[in-house]
Symmetry: C2
Subunit: 121 residues, 2 copies
């Protein structure tokens, strides 16, 4: 289950196992990857906080890993997950990718599914 961390942090794509929707992209170091596999819940490395990030630890919106894939170079990961909550985005959307390019401008094309002020207290 080796992943190549020689170039640094490895991008992990989180995909809804049911719909196939891409929910978020985050980064992993080796510790985050090992913990993800050991626990079955997505754990990342936060570049801004510079520490392990157990996704959903405070909100309860964990990501249960149903399947993990890696690419030809073993330096990128896809996690197919079940959402244990309404969404992954700290702005209240199901997916972080809630903006779509339309006529050269970013347009919000998703509906909010929870109130971040209630969830992240």
């Amino acid at each position: 289950m080796e992943i190549n961390f020689e170039k640094g942090l490895v991008p992990a794509i989180v995909q809804d196992a049911t719909s196939g929707e891409v929910l978020m992209l985050a980064f992993m170091n080796e510790e985050a990857w090992r913990e993800t596999i050991a626990t079955g819940h997505a754990t990342f490395f936060s570049r801004t906080r510079n520490k392990l990030w157990r996704k959903g630890e405070s909100s309860g919106h964990r990501l249960r890993v149903r399947e993990a894939k890696t690419d030809c170079d073993r330096d990128a990961i896809v996690l197919k997950v079940d959402l244990l909550g309404p969404g992954v985005c700290h702005e209240g959307y199901k997916t972080c990718f809630f903006r779509t390019l339309e006529n050269q401008a970013w347009v919000i094309t998703e509906q909010k599914v929870f109130n971040p002020e209630e969830v992240y207290t």
Copy 2:
């Protein structure tokens, strides 16, 4: 259509617009992003060759962009594409993510769809 390149190269997730399958992950600098939008074909920045990478330029297996999305922080991109060819992976698979974790080992779970030696000459 601003993307935040302040942290450096931005990861771009390529997803099959029809099946939702994640095909590859590559990186973009601002020039690659602008060229992608201007031409409608995915262009990346190759970290190994340190230059612009017009995906499919030699193989003809271009990626036609049907939709572009960005995330809450505008530092990651999803491209939903039509494949103008059998696959994206230089090893001959449709997707670069052809390995799945099974019992703590990476197993090849895809079939080759083209012969790389014939395509990359």
